[in-house]
Each structure stands twice: as structure tokens, then as C-alpha cells.
Symmetry: C2
Subunit: 368 residues, 2 copies
């Protein structure tokens, strides 16, 4: 019999709320959606979620482990998300904190197609050295201006040059024109320097444009792309992995509302485990001390989940960004380790000369 | 020049936070993702979001209106979601409360393919009478047992019989077997009674299974389907509308985390405007007084947004569910009006005889 999916929830109970009832309520809500009395007897023991553990913490909080039948979850990301948090997203005081993944489910979902090691191979950056990434911006510039910026970054030795995630298919820089211009500019810089910078266009799009943009990126010679999986649907990333085989850098747009301390999914589970399982080779997250509010502990927890042994899944690349100061780059690498992609945008643009700013940044992290 | 997209945000400021800076921060973050000083001059006036209005409320709260360039948003749902709330989902104290939709954007996105009027046509329920919907459950039952339940509901005159949204493609009732069995059972009941019940299978699935299940539902003669658009990606619903033309009933799974009072999207915007614009003919939401915490005012606001004049978009059907008591059905119709689909599951199952329970429910709402 297949292993059950074990899920840990942090419950925060109202004054008049029983933790036992709340845990049991989750077990019913996320499976049969019926009161226990209405569940046909033979199903009760197997299909209904099982409260495996419930222990009290201070301040009306409880840790609960609920297990789910492997057949109920199946091996589709859609039903997995639904089982983990579909209906209870609409309730209060329920936070998903950990998942113990059955090996069969991990094998079925597959994880990163390339992972950290594959990104090293594509960029030629050896183990023991951190990688650098930047974003082409701002939206509103034309293909030529964006390509010029890409060229300058590549001349300085930037490993990964991605579109800003808000650059889609605007009239100012339609996807195909931008793709051609930026890919050419980066290839030209690589030819000049002997370097190996990669351009990652943003393919986040509706159907069937998503497929067309992935195909165009592949056909233009791109090794990878940027995608916002919470906007396309998480499974679209898994599908892109299987269909196109490109390196996938995942952006966290639209995920932030799940990250409340007492309700939702912990950021390390969503941007770590779930994005990794769904095929992210690199997972961007808002670094501590930037424009967003993640704590250092949260960032380190995400790093851990992107790298820890998880069935046979490849480790993915933590990609802290969102206001990282170039002057602190070396500190972050010291703290996070070299199996990290440091995403720095604004702090390079503020220096004016993008080639020189990139070269200095490389030097600062010991890659001069 | 195309109209700008006008968005209202409720800002909740920390003690040391300036509302002006916060509003200006959103305008930059959701567009150029750069400090104002780094934005090339010609783009500043057009591409950067524009703070149109900022007015103080009690307790450090403010109402801000920010407008976005129509070309920046374009007409893709993915970039629309990203512009509205992508990065700022990761910040605090920002709640989207209203959107004034440019007519061009509404025309491009299209809205419900059938709407309330189309559902009336498909079910034969005349204007002035409310519709009834129920869910086949629990997951774990086989196709024959689910089909038997569908048959009994249809014999009682249930208008819409949908899969529970957690019933996907489990081994207990694989999609195609379940589809064939339930569709046949409902057709048989219709032949017996002269009624016109519809079976709506749940097609929420990964790619390319989503497409295959939609095609199978259409080929089996189903007039509509159930989909959880926040799990598939919102645009997948729009795509399903364009590709298959079936009635789409949208389920709110996974949306709940956005509904905080001080951060996120208001439920009426997400389950009302956004689901309607993306093609939902009916939008399920957790009714007040059920297992979830929506207030009556929230429910009425959702109803309003599904029905109000919105460009040339068809009105959609509010579908309150999630613990509605059959005994209170008439009260809800009185309150919400007859252009409503009342979704009642558990309360019918609790009565045992599904045919009789459905017939009584019809009688209670004046459709005996």
C-alpha cells in the first residue's frame, strides 16, 4: 500500500474553539467535505484525512499532523494543491508548516529538470563559486534599449540576465522582437568576451501564448526562461519542464498572501518544496533586508528546502532578490553558501555603467 | 489614447510609514521595479503607475487610487494579475478594493460565455425562479455509487449536479468512467421525469489532462463543467471558455488567503469581477453562516459584482454554498434574489433520501 502524505499544520484556535474539532474539521474538509456521520462506513477509515498527532503550544496554538490517502492525492499537482490547502484557505488559523513527501509522489512529479548543477553546466560556473543574475528593466523600453542593457551586463560577466517579470508582450517591446534582440546582444557579448552569459526571457502568458513563447525561446537558442508559476498555475511550470526541457527560473509574484504567521503556507514550503517539486531550477524570493519583509530565518529555510535531499529530486538554486545591495553581495554569499544565485537589479542600475558595475560585483564575490 | 486602468487600494500604514511613500512605492513596484531616480525620463510620466488620489481614513488607513497605462497591462489575464497584485502580494497593508475597468480591456477579456441567462436556457428554469445545485460526494465512492446519487438528485429535480471539487481522477472513480456513468444516470432520470438536470464534471487538472477532460465532457454531452481557476491558473478558465464553449462553474479553492481585511484582494473583486471577467458563468462562494467566515455584506458584494453592468459582459450567477442549510433556502433566495444558484450538499445528504430531499427543497423555494 502506498505511503500516506503527512502534513503538519499550525492551528491557532479562537477562545471557544476546540483544537480536536479544528483538526478533525480539516481532515473532513480536505477530503469528503461532509460531516463524519454522512460518510459511508467503508470510506471513513481510508479516505477521510487522519489526525495523527495533536500537541499543544502556548497561546491557544497547536501542532497537528494530518495524513492523507495516497490515492486521494494521486500524482497531479492540481489535486495536490487542493488537498493541501484548497478549501481551508477560506478558513482561519490554519498554517501549513511541513510536508513529508511519499517517494512515489516525488518520483511522479519529478522536480527540477536541471537544478543547480544543470545551471552551473549551462553557465560554466564551477562548483564553489556563486552565480549572479540581473533583470532587464524597466518595462516601457524598446527591444533595442533592453538589448543594449543586456549586452552591457553580459560584457561585465553577468551569468543570468532575465526579463523583469512585469515585461510581458507590451507594444513597447513585443515578446518576439525583444527575444531576438536580447538573445543576439548576449550572444554578441559572449563572442567578444569568451563568456557564457544566458538570457532568460519572461514567458509568463495565457494559453496558448505560453507554449508559443517557450517554443520561440527554445528556437532562439535560449537555455532558460523566467516564469511566474502562481500566475500561470503551478502545473504550467511542470508542463513546461516536460515539454521544453529549458532551465526554469520561478518568480514568486502573487504568492505573498499565503505567508501570514497564523494562516496560509510557510514561504519555505511554497517557494521551496512546492516550486522545486513542480520543476523550478531556480526559485526567486525576496531577500531579507530588501523591499519585502522576509526574515533571515525564512530565507534560510527556503534555501534549505531548495537544497535538502528530497527523494531523487535535483537540488534547486536559491535566488534571493528584491532589493539586494551589490555592496553586500559577498556577505550574502558567505551566509547562504556558493550554491546560490544572487539576483541584483536596482543596485547595479543605480551605478550607471552596467558593465563596470557587474565586473565589480564579480570581483566582490571572488570571481574577478 | 486608451483609458488607464484605475485601481483603488486600502493602505494600512505602520506608525513610521508615510502613506505618500507607500502609494508611490506601489506605483513603482507594480510597473518599473526601480527607484524613480533610475527610470529613464520619457517613461516616468507614462509607464510608472500614477497616484491619482490619496485620502486619509481613521487609524492610519488611507484610500489610494493608482492608475496604470493600458499598454502596460495589455489584454492578457496573466499580466493583469501581475500588475494588480503580483509583487505587492509580498508586502503588507495593501488591499485592493475596487477596479474601474477600461471598456477595451473588458471587450478583450470577454467575460462569461453563457452567464446567468445561458444557464437558464440550458436548464430550462425561467426567469423569476432560483436555481438549485448540489455536489456529488464523497470522494472515494466508485462511478456507480456516484452515478446512483446523481440519478436520485436528478429524479428530485436538481438543476445542476456537480462533482465535489476534490473528486479529480482518483482510482476509486477515474474521470472518464465517472463522466460516462454520471452523465448516463442524469440523462436517464431526465428521460424518466421529463426534467432537464445537468451534470457538471470537475475538469480541474494538469496540462494536457485539462484539455482532454474538457473534450471528454463536451463529447459526452455535458453542457457545463466545474473548474477551480486559482488552481489551474485563472487564464485556463478563459481559455476553456474560448476553446470549448461549455458552461463554466468556478470554485474558489485556494483563493482564501487573499481575503484579509488589511491585505490582499477583496473577495467581491476576486470571486466577483475577476472570475466573471475570466469567463465564470457561475461563481461559487462560501455563504454567510456556513462552514466559512464570509459576512453577509461580503456575500452581497460578490452578488453585486457578478451581476452589475460591466461593459458588455454577461451577468454571472452567484452560487453561495459551503454549508447552506436546506431549511433556510427560501430565506436566502428572498435575500439574494432569484438570479442565484443555491448550492446545497451536506444538508441534503443528511436527510438520507436524496430524491425526496431535493423535491422538498424545490417546494421550499416555490418550485414545487
Amino acid at each position: 500500500m502506498a505511503e500516506r502524505l503527512q502534513v503538519d499544520y499550525l492551528l491557532t484556535c479562537a477562545a471557544d474553539e476546540s483544537a480536536e474539532d479544528k483538526a478533525r474539521g480539516i481532515a473532513l474538509e480536505q477530503t469528503v467535505e461532509l460531516p463524519a456521520a454522512c460518510v459511508p462506513a467503508p470510506l471513513g477509515d481510508r479516505v477521510v484525512g487522519r489526525v495523527e498527532r495533536l500537541s499543544a503550544l502556548p497561546e491557544q496554538r497547536y501542532e497537528a499532523t494530518i495524513s492523507f490517502d495516497a490515492d486521494l492525492v494521486g500524482s497531479e499537482l492540481t489535486q495536490l494543491l487542493n488537498t493541501l490547502f484548497g478549501n481551508i484557505s477560506l478558513q482561519d488559523g490554519i498554517r501549513l508548516t511541513d510536508i513529508r513527501w511519499p517517494a512515489g509522489l516525488l518520483d511522479a512529479l519529478g522536480g527540477p529538470g536541471h537544478g543547480m548543477a544543470g545551471i552551473r553546466e549551462a553557465t560554466g560556473v564551477p562548483a564553489g563559486e556563486a552565480l549572479l543574475c540581473t533583470a532587464l528593466k524597466p518595462v516601457g523600453l524598446g527591444p533595442a534599449a533592453l538589448a543594449e542593457r543586456a549586452h552591457r551586463f553580459a560584457l561585465g560577466g553577468m551569468d543570468l540576465i532575465k526579463d523583469d517579470h512585469g515585461i510581458a508582450d507590451q507594444p513597447s517591446a513585443p515578446f518576439r522582437e525583444r527575444l531576438a534582440a536580447c538573445q543576439e546582444a548576449v550572444a554578441r557579448a559572449n563572442a567578444e568576451t569568451g563568456g557564457n552569459s544566458l538570457y532568460l526571457p519572461n514567458v509568463t502568458a495565457p494559453w496558448p501564448a505560453l507554449e508559443a513563447r517557450l517554443a520561440a525561446a527554445r528556437d532562439a537558442g535560449c537555455r532558460g526562461v523566467l516564469i511566474s508559476p502562481w500566475i500561470t498555475g503551478l502545473d504550467a511550470m511542470r508542463w513546461a519542464r516536460d515539454r521544453f526541457g529549458l532551465v526554469l527560473m520561478a518568480h514568486p509574484a502573487l504568492t505573498g498572501s499565503y505567508f501570514r504567521p497564523e494562516h496560509g503556507l510557510s514561504p519555505d514550503l511554497l517557494l521551496g518544496d512546492l516550486f522545486r517539486i513542480a520543476g523550478a531550477d531556480a526559485s526567486i524570493y525576496p531577500n531579507s533586508g530588501g523591499r519585502f519583509g522576509f526574515s533571515l530565518a525564512t530565507c534560510e529555510a527556503i534555501n534549505h528546502r531548495l537544497r535538502y535531499p528530497l527523494g531523487t529530486l535535483r537540488p534547486a538554486a536559491p535566488t534571493p532578490g528584491g532589493g539586494v545591495d551589490a555592496a553586500r553581495a559577498a556577505d550574502w554569499i558567505t551566509r547562504y553558501g556558493t550554491d546560490t544565485i544572487l539576483l541584483i537589479g536596482g543596485s547595479l542600475y543605480a551605478q550607471g555603467d552596467l558593465t563596470r558595475a557587474t565586473a565589480s560585483l564579480r570581483e566582490a564575490i571572488g570571481r574577478g
